[in-house]
């Protein structure tokens, strides 16, 4: 059996498969199926300074090979995250990534401060959030605002900082370089693609929020292309996600340049998806005669 562990900005993961933020709660739910210590890590549900109710329902609708969600960051707030969810999660022997969100640079910074000295292993900065200061445009779509929020959080944080990129941009490479330049220790991508569905009977959007984020197998080719693009632009580690539903998909992601992967929507389809992907990646790495799965990363030879 090859060595399945990977190291990302100093943090050791048992294996390169991480549960994606928002699809795995704070880990307790899926531990009713299997011990989540089998996973490389978990990226927790996006957390904000104060509790958020999220959007009204319906919050989810199925599309061809995908889903749209508009949960809207319902979460208990960083306080209860630290006091009640994190301790339970930490008992599971698993790398814990806190996924943080905010409406202003100050929000993000305060979040980072609150996580200092906590048992959180790493911070994932979710920058697909409206920047109230800039008229609601996402932080994540402008290199300047990405750099700004990254640099500020980096200053106020003692944890490795992974910036999570949104795919709804013209040049993901430019955004990646901005984050790297501002001090990001790693990048993760992709977040969801903005989409919509309409109920032709009522002629209303199916989602109460009108639009939602597209995830699942449908977006895999776009995610793979973007991971490759980013891998070629930066030197920091890249965590790839978006539509991964099989070990073959995960292998493609790593070959394209990802040091690790996150798996989201696939968990809804098959609660054992992550476990199967870990196993499949293991046999694949073995069959290639590699000693460590890290040898897979970025081995694509383009035409």
């Amino acid at each position: 059996m090859p060595d399945m562990s990977v190291k990302i900005c100093g943090i050791s993961f048992k294996n390169p498969v991480i549960a994606a933020s928002g699809t795995f709660g704070f880990g307790m739910e899926y531990s009713e199926f299997y011990p989540i210590s089998r996973l490389g890590g978990i990226s927790c549900k996006g957390t904000t300074l104060v509790e958020r109710m999220g959007n009204p329902t319906p919050r989810i609708v199925e599309t061809s090979c995908g889903i749209l969600n508009s949960v809207g960051l319902q979460n208990p707030g960083v306080g209860r995250f630290l006091s009640s969810y994190l301790p339970r999660l930490k008992k599971q022997d698993i790398v814990v990534i806190a996924n943080i969100a905010g409406n202003s640079v100050e929000d993000y910074c305060e979040m980072a401060e609150r996580l200092k000295d906590s048992q959180v292993d790493m911070i994932e900065l979710n920058i697909s959030c409206p920047n109230v200061k800039q008229g609601g445009v996402n932080f994540g779509v402008l290199p300047e605002s990405v750099a700004e929020v990254t640099a500020q959080v980096k200053k106020r944080s003692d944890k490795p900082l992974m910036v999570k990129l949104t795919p709804n941009v013209t040049s993901i490479g430019d955004i990646a370089k901005a984050a790297e330049g501002a001090g990001a220790d790693a990048l993760s991508l992709i977040n969801t693609l903005t989409g919509m569905r309409i109920d032709i009977k009522s002629r209303r959007p199916v989602l109460r929020n009108n639009t939602g984020g597209l995830s699942g197998r449908a977006i895999f080719p776009v995610a793979l292309r973007m991971v490759r693009e980013v891998y070629k632009c930066v030197k920091i580690p890249v965590v790839g996600m978006g539509g991964i539903s099989s070990w073959e998909d995960a292998a493609e992601m790593m070959i394209a340049g990802a040091n690790a992967v996150q798996v989201g929507t696939a968990n809804f389809h098959d609660p054992f998806a992550c476990v199967k992907i870990i196993e499949g990646l293991g046999s694949y790495t073995d069959s290639l005669g590699l000693k460590s799965i890290t040898e897979l990363t970025g081995t694509l030879s383009e035409w």
Partner: protein, 258 residues
């Protein structure tokens, strides 16, 4: 490990009303621990999301589950094409079921359409102390009346068009029933508007009422926060996950006005 994934072999399948199927599965692990009001989440080929379907029956000794579902869209249509001998990929038992208090109490059970199936195990608990008021579009859509009677329950059938039983809504029948009879607890599952009326009637009569809510689901296990329903308690208003904190709620917990 509260949840199991099983490939439940279909033992029996009957179309009990046009487009409504009664299916029995061999699923011993889930059958072993299921309680009334819980559901399973079923994989449909070609779809990303599983489809939640309530348990209409479970027998831990025989290791079987019973579900009754209606074709509502493409997922349930696919399900309806499975045949005896095929496997259904299910996870369960999911959710927080009905509280069954004391079978000597008088229970009134109100079901609307395909909201009726999860109420059968409740009737089977209260037996002759149960009165089951169910409503359907018309006579041919009415299901499970024989099962409720076999359980020993009294049945009151309502149809929207009067083609069988009482011509009218379950809520009218319930109101009349409560005015004339004793009742300790009410259980209801069906369209939201119906359940809201049932909840109001229960409140007016000072009767405890349990409602089984429905919401579009992602994971079915509490991880994604897609399936929330508005609730309230001493601390304020909340959006609570139907898949784990429900589908059964106390009627006073639900924020019907949200």
């Amino acid at each position: 490990m509260r949840y199991t994934q099983e490939l439940g072999k279909i033992l029996n399948k009957t179309e009990i009303a046009k487009g409504t199927f009664d299916v029995t599965l061999h699923s011993p692990e889930i059958a072993n621990i299921a309680v009334a009001g819980q559901f399973v989440n079923i994989l449909c080929d070609g779809f990303t999301l599983r489809r939640p379907i309530s348990l209409c029956g479970f027998d831990s000794k025989k290791g079987i589950l019973r579900i009754v579902f209606e074709i509502r869209g493409k997922g349930t249509e696919w399900l309806s094409r499975l045949q005896v001998g095929d496997n259904m990929d299910i996870i369960g038992p999911l959710g927080h079921g009905f509280s069954l208090i004391d079978s000597s109490k008088k229970a009134v059970i109100v079901g609307g359409g395909v909201g009726t199936p999860p109420l059968l195990p409740v009737a089977q608990f209260y037996r002759e102390n149960a009165t089951v008021i169910t409503g359907f579009r018309n006579a041919s859509a009415a299901i499970l009346q024989g099962d409720f009677e076999k359980a020993g329950a009294k049945t009151i059938l309502c149809t929207d068009d009067g083609s069988a039983g009482i011509h009218g809504f379950t809520t009218q029948a319930l109101e009349q029933y409560l005015n004339e009879n004793e009742c300790d607890i009410i259980y209801t599952c069906g369209p939201k508007v119906m359940m809201r009326s049932v909840a109001r009637l229960a409140e007016n009569h000072g009767i405890t009422c349990q409602v089984s809510m429905e919401e579009r689901m992602g994971c079915g296990v509490g991880a994604c926060l897609c399936c929330v329903c508005p609730t309230k308690d001493g601390k304020g208003k909340h959006l609570t996950r139907v898949c784990v904190n429900g589908p059964v709620f106390s009627s006073t917990e639900v924020d019907w006005d949200a």
